[in-house]
Structure formats: C-alpha cells, structure tokens
Symmetry: C2
C-alpha cells in the first residue's frame, strides 16, 4: 500500500496514452496542461506505442520532461476485461499497472476501456484489506452547484449489503478528503424514505449503515441526486449505472429538442441561436465528457478512470486528481476505516 | 372480468373525487372537461364527501349529469396502504372500487395515494389470471416525440424473472392497444447489451423474454429511455422508480439553473424572460404533473392512477384514457396472453 507521498517528492503518475477514443493526441495534450498546472510536483510516465508517441512528445518539446514506456499492444473498448491480465501483457494497460504493482509509480490514469482497467487493476494490485468489492463512483451536477458522488455506478451488480456499506465508507472518505466537504452526508438510494422500503438488500444495508461511523441520513430517492441535498449516494451498480446513463443522455435529449424547435422556422432558428451561449453556460456541467475522471476505489493503488471521449482538459483534470488522491492518502484512510477487525465484524 | 364494452353503451367511470392534492376542485373541473370531450360515451360516478361535492356540482350545472356516491372518509397521501381494505370501508377509494367489484362500474380513476390504490384494488378485485404481480407503468418523453412506456416504476421490488416477463407482456399490450403502436419493441433495462450482463434476475428475465411472443429487442440501457429507440422498457420497480423520480427532478433542476443564471444580472433576467416561452414549449412533456395518468396493469379491473398534483386537464386525460382501456379490452387481452397454460409453463 502506498502510504501517501510527502509534499517534497513528485507524485509519479502513469498515463495510459493509448486509452481514449482520440489517443494519444488528447492524452499528450492533457499531459502538457497538467504539467503546466502541477510543475515539479508530478512526474509523468507516459505508456504506449513509442513510434506514435515519441514524435508527438518531441514536437511538443516535452520528450525530456516525461518518461516514456513503450507498450506495443493497445486494448480496445470492446476487448474482454477478464483475459487481459493473462494474454495482453504487452499492452499499455498491463505495463502501466505493473509499474504500480512494482512500486515504481504512485497512480494510474486512463480514458480507456473501464471494465478492462477495473478487472486488470483488481487482479494485478489486489484489494485494500477489508474491502468487499472495488467500486467506481461518478459525479452528478446539482441545483446547488455542489456535486453528488454516486457510488457504485456499474462496477458491481447484485452487491451484498456489506458491499454497499463499503461503498458508503469509501465514498465518504473520497468526498471528505478530495472534494473537501467537512462531514459529507451519505444517503442510501431507495424508493422511499422509510427503513422498511426497498429490496431485501437495501433494507439490510440500511441497518448496517445506521451503525456506520459516518453522517448517514437514511434513504434518499432518485430526485435527491440532482437536488444536492446529499453528498454521497450509495447504491448497487445496477441502478447506479442505469441512472448514470440516463443522466448522461439528458443533455443530448435537450439538444435534440432545441434543434427540432429551431428547425421549425427561421425565427425559431434565430431565437435558439441567440440563446445558445446561455444554454451552454447553464448546462455546462451536464456534459459528462468534460468531467475530470472518476476514482476506482478499493483497489490497492490509485486509479483514475475517464470517459473514452475525454478532452485534453478532462485528461489534465484526471492527472491533477490522481496527484490529490495520492497526497491525501485516500487508500490509507480506506484501509484504516475498513481493514480493522471492528469494522469487519459488522458483516 | 369485464369483457370490454360495446361502443353503444356509455363506459361507467368512477372518479375518486377526494384523491388529489387539490381535491375535489381539480377532480370536478377535470370531469367537466372529460364530459365535454366524451359526451354520452361516458357515465361518470363521482365518489366523495357529498357536502363538499354537491354544491360544486350544482354550481357547475352538472349535478344531474353525473352520479354522486357519498363517501365520508378520505384517504390521505401518507396513509398505510395495507390496512385500508379492512379499516377504511367508508372512504372514496374503498366505495369506488366496490362499484367495480360489484359490476356496477367499468373503470376507476384516482389522483390519490398510489400505494393505497394499488394495494386496495389488488385485494378487492384480485389479479387477472396468469399475472404474477400487478404493475404500474409510466411514460417518458423521448427525442422522437413518441413516448417510452417504462414498467414497473415502483409497484414491486425484488421482482422475479417471471414478473418481469409479465410486465413486458402487459406493457406491450397497452402500448399496442392504447398508444396505437403496431408492433411495439420491448427492451429489458440493463447495464449492457450482451445477454450475460446484469443481475441474476435480469439475466434470467432475458432468457424468458427471448421466448415471449413479442418484439423483444434485447437489453437496453439507461440512455435508451429518452432516445425513443424502444417502445416498452421492462425493469424491476426498484430501478424503475429511481429512474422515474430522477427524470421527474430534471425539470426542477433546469428551472433552478435558469433562475440562478437570471439572478446574476438584469441583462440575464431579460434574456431568460424572453426565452421562457421557448423553454416551456420545448420542455413541455417533461412536466410529469401534466401527464394523463398511468395504468395499473394486471388487476382484474381498469384502474388509472394520476399524480397527486394532477391538473384538471390531467384528470380529464385520465378519464378519457380509462374509457379507451375499457373499450380496447386491455384486460381481456392480458388474460388471453398470460392466462393460458402455455404461457404459465414458461415459469
């Protein structure tokens, strides 16, 4: 386990340069942005195909500022996650994670195949002691401007109550240490407020969470995600993924509606055109592709995962986030909270 | 079982006049609208407190055009559903449903406590033979303008695979007979397209649905609800309710965002003010309170349920919808599809 990193040493961040849809262009552009922001507090290790990367790194005058690790194989979005650790050891994913496993790097950042990153990282690095299942959280915009962290959003389905308990603890730690919320409120996603509501798993998780050493506010409903009334929303990855993908589709739905309206007449077109900048401002944080990545929590290593279509800004945000997670020792805090026998007996 | 209603006889619709938040005002206003539309094809039976209703019916000159059934007791939104059938036999809910049970009416319409309507209707009228669990569907707006029927949205959690199969069959019949879609496509809400994806229940339901006599298009994801690519989306009430409540909150989220933007400056206020009519037009069908009710499917009687805050127009839509469901013999079709031994052996 990496015990955090003193402020003096640069944090060594591995960037999977072959992960995203527009790799390695966006990855390299994001690396340049991040280095401008972080200066000597980061040491980037770029992993990918040398013949592609070296000319770009040279052209951008950063070939001597980053480390380059050649990885001839590229994992595609559709590749089967389970077999990578055995059959794709020449990929940027495997070779990058091996640096973490061998203590040669502190964090790993990828905009690639999420399932592949999760499965391979879990197999290569193992879980933090006490964690039932590693999980992926995601951020939702809210009315208040503050973001809601929903966890899990698809890493696991059919989660046991204890897994939901773990998501709550890990989400709370992330929200407190990284988002800087003093005492994050934690809610259990359900179909009603009463403790008797919901599935058998939800009802058992409710009971576990009432004994958790965190600010558990009880059940919350689908409408509470966007209201901003709760900081961390805990759920199984089945409903978490469904609601995340629904949320991701809202912006496209709205755009399509405005386009249909605009196409009805020239006047409409002018009105919508004039209003477009306002729409962009108001709906800016509904664009999930611009988000700076989400954490894979519970794996024994710092992993930040991004959308396949991550922009250079999003890649840069992911690198900055990775450095913050290492410096705050999120994983050490998770082990403290879940690795102790007292916490395990709750199961 | 009501075998439908020949076009000649008026359909006898019971209106729970005490159900909604603004009862009986909105209920009576809705009744007047519906009678204007339906003329002699509907016979309304208004159930509620006579002392409240009679003056309004007289004032509106419809006291002789509707039947009035006195029910002194009123079910509140917070009342416990399970006990109503035993302890609240003087309520408009109980007395109204008794008319259906006794063959004195064809349909029941209420904007009251949804859980109470569902539990009481199921206990008093029973299930259609072959139906595992009665279910509630809801309509989502889509990019194409066509609505998606999502079923179940909260009637049942921890649904067995056979229940999901039943939701699919009932939703398909409703979509075909009432929404007029020739061969409605049916999708199973899941976290990925492959049949191996999702919870154990989802995977089993997938297998059942591949053998269903309907246009099953496989798994769909959260993003497919608003896209309009599929007509009926089948899911357990746990995730269905979560995604419905999330969807219901989107309009409020957007309004709050525009208000925040408007409050930043006088110019912003003017811009948003000028654009408001466009917003209203474009987002109109995201206002779930204006919807004309949703069907309770699988109960041996025609029941249409509305939002507590249903407008007079919504109440009127619910009455019109009830007449359509009776005329199309939706319940007879459901019994045909699920009541046969052949369909049951799939379980």
């Amino acid at each position: 386990m990496n015990k955090g990193n003193s402020a003096g040493n640069p944090v060594r961040v591995v960037l999977d340069a072959m992960g995203g849809d527009i790799a390695p262009t966006n990855e390299v552009a994001g690396a340049i942005l991040a280095m401008g922001l972080l200066g000597s507090s980061v040491q980037l290790i770029v992993v990918g195909q040398e013949n592609l990367l070296l000319p770009i790194l040279r052209q951008e005058n950063i070939a001597d500022k980053v480390e380059l690790l050649h990885a001839p194989d590229v994992i595609a979005m559709g590749d089967e996650p389970a077999s990578i650790v055995k059959t794709r050891t020449e990929s940027s994913l495997y070779k990058g994670l091996a640096l973490l496993r061998d203590g040669k790097a502190d964090a790993f950042v990828s905009a690639g195949n999420t399932g592949a990153v999760m499965a391979t990282a879990t197999l290569m690095l193992g879980r933090i002691p006490g964690v039932g299942r590693p999980t992926i959280g995601s951020f939702f915009p809210t009315q208040t401007g503050r973001q809601t962290l929903v966890v899990d959003v698809g890493a696991n389905v059919d989660s046991k109550p204890k897994f939901l308990y773990d998501y709550a603890v890990m989400g709370e730690i992330y929200s407190r240490l990284i988002l800087g919320i003093p005492e994050p409120s934690v809610g259990l996603l359900n179909v009603g407020e009463e403790s008797s509501k919901g599935t058998e798993v939800a009802r058992e998780a409710f009971q576990l969470l009432t004994h958790a050493p965190l600010n558990f506010v009880g059940n919350v409903e689908g409408r509470d995600i966007l209201s901003g009334g709760v900081d961390v929303v805990v759920c199984d990855g089945f409903e978490g993924n469904i609601v995340l993908k629904f949320a991701e589709s809202v912006l496209g739905f709205l755009k399509s509606r405005f386009t249909t309206f605009a196409n009805r007449s020239l006047l409409n077109k002018l009105i919508v055109g004039a209003f477009k900048p306002v729409l962009k401002t108001v709906l800016k944080d509904m664009d999930y592709q611009e988000y700076g990545g989400v954490p894979l929590l519970g794996v024994n290593g710092v992993i930040i995962i991004g959308h396949g279509s991550s922009s250079p800004l999003a890649i840069s945000n992911m690198i900055v986030r990775a450095v913050e997670v290492v410096r705050a020792d999120v994983n050490g805090n998770i082990q403290q909270a879940l690795g102790k026998p007292a916490a395990n007996t709750i199961e």
